[in-house]
């Protein structure tokens, strides 16, 4: 593996375009004569629909059509269950437009298509729906009780799924344990809130029979497959393009949202392009949410602090439907033991329906909840046994020589057994303590207390299973005229810098500058084998596929260059967009190699002349193209990971609590993380930092407030508190690179790393700060002013 650009902090190729405002997000794409869609969304959580009257809407000037479940033909169906799993007995998915009943505030009931969005909204407001409201139960625990109002009439106790996994012998461990620590923790619901809401535009070409859909999705290939199937079109007649996308964070990987089906349908029916640009309010009440879990976690330990068994039983709120299956709960349950040995695990979850927006993965996908549970439990255990919280972690870490460390009986989201493959957990912990001052901090804490200020040190560790399959591909072609290298893969980017990261992988192999590598992805016409961007897998899966293709392309270049330079292949080296004979000035440009590799009859320019049959470089005996050889410098390879590769890290922070004003301020944040070899450390840090900010949101600010009647009280950015820069402290990110043994590049995923541990860090930091006043227990995030006030009152302050 090359060392030149791989591993370098290279500025991104895509930035100038975005900085100049030349990005092309879905709503930026000019579509002549486009019509605009708006939805009527349910204002009530649970109700039967007695009737819908769209006549006033349909007659409103400027309206092209109004759709309900009655005039969308075959689209009137329950949308696909993406990931089936036997733990779900009777899984429910929603319909594009509600039929007979609604299940959450925000559910789509009708779609208006009109000359502009203003008009469409006017018309939608004229649709009359006669609801027969039904009772709702918003509390997760109460929803399971006998007699609780049901979200789905045929799903008793609102139990969407029930699953138990066992690793080792937990009963035996609990039988011989010397100490038990049991706590309950809760994480509240949040949402990805990407800066660009969702967006879909579709154009139907009746002449060619081609449907083109621009969709701000993380999964263009999967969307294409679904659309082709549902509309009964050949896959190559459906093109899905994810153009520039303004953040995804998991919310945009779900398919289908109702608009993803209805907008193409309308375009096909109305003969004009149709656009749907979700607005912020709709993003809050229509696009996926995540996080609500309540864990009852019990650690069985020896007096030494060694945790020999763990039992965790948690409730997972899946919202009104479960289209993504149990993935979030599954990831949480398989991450529950964190970086600790704990060889005996019993983990159970119940996924519960509530009449709310459906829950599908949001960055972290269950890992933040699991981390919060295990880290709070470890802190409590440390306190119970009077062992330092850093020390107790050290005693329980999986040590380096124990890798690969399997957890038999726990299957990760890829259906494969959880096996932690590599890491230096102890070293990371040491680095975190050193970074935030250790003893120096204790002194500062004392001084602050003398001034009436309360400083605390928060600390938490996490693990992250990354890079899951099934596979991704990489296609590389060297352009004959310019010598630029074109790369495709089946992903799309929402800001992760694929255009640069993948370019770095290829640049080293092929000997070009990264800005001469042009990455085109997110377009099923460019490349259409693959899955999607999610679950911290792009660098691992696409990265390695592209690497394999680059290695193949390199070989082809070397062979062609050897031929053209009439030299031994081992004497050729590639750099500066050319092939050189080592230690000499003789070279041939990559463009020429690419041109020459395509045997031509007709020359259309000077470069092409070199490839025609009588040119010297084309000298050969026998067929111009040998058996098994393809024209051009091109390769397509695939990478299918044998298992997920597990990244990890340790976070720590200094928090300041003001008991008089009931405020928590983060003063400093440190993150030690290890994602194996880093392709571009600058981009890695950007990912981690963004995750940390979202984690801070989840620790102190972001909570979706569903009221007892099912209404979402804070469906706006005014009241759902996404952190500004003022809420983010100085963050330093330190890297450890323990290469993954599982893939040729030695990389692990990092997209979700930043947000996993923050809740536990903040909670433990606030507890530490308030220790002089009493033992405050913070087991519920986000930590609101009210909670802090009540915690202080509970200790008499």
């Amino acid at each position: 593996m090359s060392t030149r650009t791989f591993g370098a902090r290279i500025e991104r190729n895509i930035d100038p375009k975005l900085l100049r405002g030349e990005g092309a997000f879905v709503d930026d794409i000019p579509l002549t004569n486009a019509l605009h869609a708006a939805f009527l969304r349910s204002p009530v959580a649970r109700a039967r629909i007695r009737s819908i009257d769209v006549s006033a809407a349909r007659n409103y000037p400027g309206v092209a059509e109004v759709y309900t479940c009655d005039n969308i033909g075959p689209l009137d169906m329950a949308m696909p269950l993406l990931i089936p799993h036997p733990s779900m007995k009777n899984p429910k998915t929603q319909r594009p437009l509600a039929r007979d009943a609604v299940y959450y505030v925000g559910q789509t009931i009708a779609m208006v298509v009109a000359v502009d969005r203003y008009t469409a909204e006017d018309a939608a407001a004229l649709i009359e729906v006669d609801f027969e409201q039904l009772p709702v139960e918003m509390d997760l625990k109460d929803a399971l009780r006998d007699g609780a109002p049901l979200v789905h009439a045929d799903v008793p106790n609102n139990l969407a799924a029930h699953f138990i996994q066992i690793s080792g012998d937990p009963d035996g461990a609990f039988a011989r344990a010397e100490h038990f620590t049991k706590i309950e923790v809760q994480v509240d619901r949040s949402t990805a809130a990407p800066m660009e809401c969702r967006a879909v535009a579709a154009r139907w070409d009746a002449v060619s029979g081609e449907l083109t859909v621009w969709d701000g999705t993380q999964a263009p290939i999967s969307v294409r497959g679904g659309l082709a199937s549902i509309f009964q079109l050949d896959e190559d007649k459906v093109r899905v393009i994810a153009p520039d996308v303004g953040g995804g964070f998991g919310q945009k990987v779900l398919l289908f949202y109702p608009d993803e089906l209805l907008v193409p349908m309308a375009a096909m029916q109305l003969g004009r392009p149709v656009k749907y640009i979700e607005d912020r309010r709709e993003n809050f009440i229509g696009s996926s949410q995540e996080r609500t879990q309540i864990h009852t976690i019990e650690l069985a330990a020896l007096k030494t602090g060694e945790v020999i068994g763990l039992r965790d039983s948690f409730l997972h709120d899946t919202g009104a439907f479960i289209p993504y299956g149990i993935a979030v709960a599954q990831v949480a349950s398989t991450s529950i033991a964190g970086p600790y040995r704990i060889p005996n695990i019993w983990v159970e979850f119940k996924a519960v329906y509530t009449p709310t927006v459906q829950v599908t993965p949001y960055r972290g996908c269950g890992r933040p909840q699991a981390c919060f549970a295990i880290e709070r439990a470890m802190d409590q255990l440390a306190e119970d046994l009077n062992i330092d919280r850093v020390e107790i972690r050290r005693r329980n870490f999986i040590s380096e020589k124990e890798f690969p460390y399997p957890r038999e009986g726990l299957l990760f989201a890829d259906g494969l057994k959880v096996t932690l493959d590599s890491g230096q957990y102890g070293r990371a912990l040491g680095m975190a303590i050193e970074a935030l001052g250790g003893a120096k901090f204790r002194a500062e804490q004392e001084r602050a207390r003398a001034d009436g200020k309360y400083l605390g040190l928060g600390l938490a560790c996490y693990v992250e299973g990354t890079g899951l399959g099934p596979y991704e591909g990489g296609h590389i072609r060297v352009h004959p005229i310019t010598g630029k290298v074109y790369v495709n893969t089946g992903l799309s980017t929402q800001g992760q810098g694929h255009d640069t990261v993948f370019a770095q992988i290829v640049a080293d192999q092929v000997g070009v500058a990264p800005d001469d590598v042009i990455v085109v992805e997110g377009d099923t016409k460019a490349f259409d084998w693959g899955v999607a961007t999610f679950a911290s897998r792009a660098a691992v899966v696409s990265g390695n596929a592209i690497h394999k293709a680059a290695v193949t392309v390199r070989q082809k270049i070397l062979e062609a260059a050897a031929n053209m330079l009439e030299a031994d292949i081992d004497s050729i080296e590639l750099h500066d967009s050319a092939a050189w004979i080592k230690g000499s000035n003789r070279f041939v440009p990559l463009a020429a190699i690419a041109t020459a590799s395509n045997p031509l009859r007709y020359a259309f320019n000077e470069a092409a002349q070199a490839a025609t049959q009588f040119a010297p470089a084309s000298k050969h005996d026998g067929p111009p193209l040998a058996e098994g050889q393809a024209p051009g410098i091109e390769a397509t390879e695939y990478y299918s990971p044998p298992a997920s590769t597990w990244a990890y890290g340790v976070h720590a922070a200094i928090v300041e609590v003001d008991p008089q004003l009931c405020t928590v301020k983060l003063r400093q944040y440190v993150c030690i993380h290890d994602c194996g070899n880093m392709i571009n450390p600058m981009i890695v840090e950007g990912q981690v930092c963004g995750g940390i900010a979202q984690g801070i949101g989840g620790a102190l600010y972001e909570k979706l407030e569903y009221q007892p009647d099912g209404n979402l009280a804070n469906a706006s950015l005014m009241d759902f508190l996404v952190p500004y820069a003022t809420e983010i402290p100085p963050v330093s990110i330190l890297h450890l690179e323990t290469p993954s043994p599982l893939n040729p590049l030695g990389v692990k995923g990092v997209g979700e790393a930043g947000c996993i541990a923050v809740g536990a860090v903040v909670a433990s930091g606030v507890e530490d700060a308030l220790k002089p006043l009493g033992a405050v227990k913070l087991r519920h995030v986000p930590l609101t002013p009210r909670m802090l006030n009540e915690a202080l009152e509970a200790i008499g302050h």
Partner: protein, 175 residues
């Protein structure tokens, strides 16, 4: 699919229309638009300047920030008709005519201060407006955070944007 009769759809809505005359990026513009058209939509769809983005339409996220009469303001909270007579500047006017990046943009690139790029134009316009004010710049940790508060970013976590502001100040000799 059977070829259906193309439905009759009007060209535009019945909204009362008003004439607006304003200067955008130094050019005089005169259009007739719906009375309720937001300035953000006017810039993006009437004028085709799609660099200004729409993130919330309630004035919180800052993605739609442009300069109105020389000062940063939310185009989503301004009616096009309100902007008649005003001097508007958008992100498209910031880089040089040949595409060379303004120092603030250059600093963003150097510091990896953008990821998806959706909030970026609004960020740049806000920062540019502060740099152009005669008020002295507070480039302390808190001062820069304060400058950036009012622009949401979901991708970067802000640390690199703070660094970019400092770097921009260096490049502009304001450090």
């Amino acid at each position: 699919m059977k070829r259906a009769i193309r439905p009759a759809i009007p060209e535009r809505s019945d909204d009362p229309r008003v004439e607006v005359a304003l200067t955008v990026n130094g050019q005089e513009v005169r259009r007739t638009v719906s009375v309720r058209l937001l300035l953000s939509d006017f810039l993006r769809h009437e004028l085709g300047l799609t660099g200004t983005h729409v993130g919330c339409e309630h004035g919180v996220c800052g993605c739609c920030t442009v300069h109105i009469d020389g000062k940063a303001g939310r185009s989503c909270l301004t009616l096009a008709v309100q902007a008649s007579g005003c001097d508007i500047r958008t992100i498209e006017d910031v880089a040089a005519a040949d595409g060379a990046l303004h120092p603030i943009q250059q600093a963003f690139k150097e510091c990896h201060a953008l990821q998806c790029g959706f909030c970026t134009p609004g960020m740049v316009m806000n920062i540019l407006s502060r740099f152009e004010e005669s008020e002295p710049l507070d480039l302390s940790e808190n001062g820069i955070r304060d400058m950036l508060s009012g622009n949401l970013c979901r991708c970067t976590g802000y640390i690199n944007i703070i660094a970019a502001v400092r770097r921009a100040a260096e490049l502009l000799g304001r450090a």
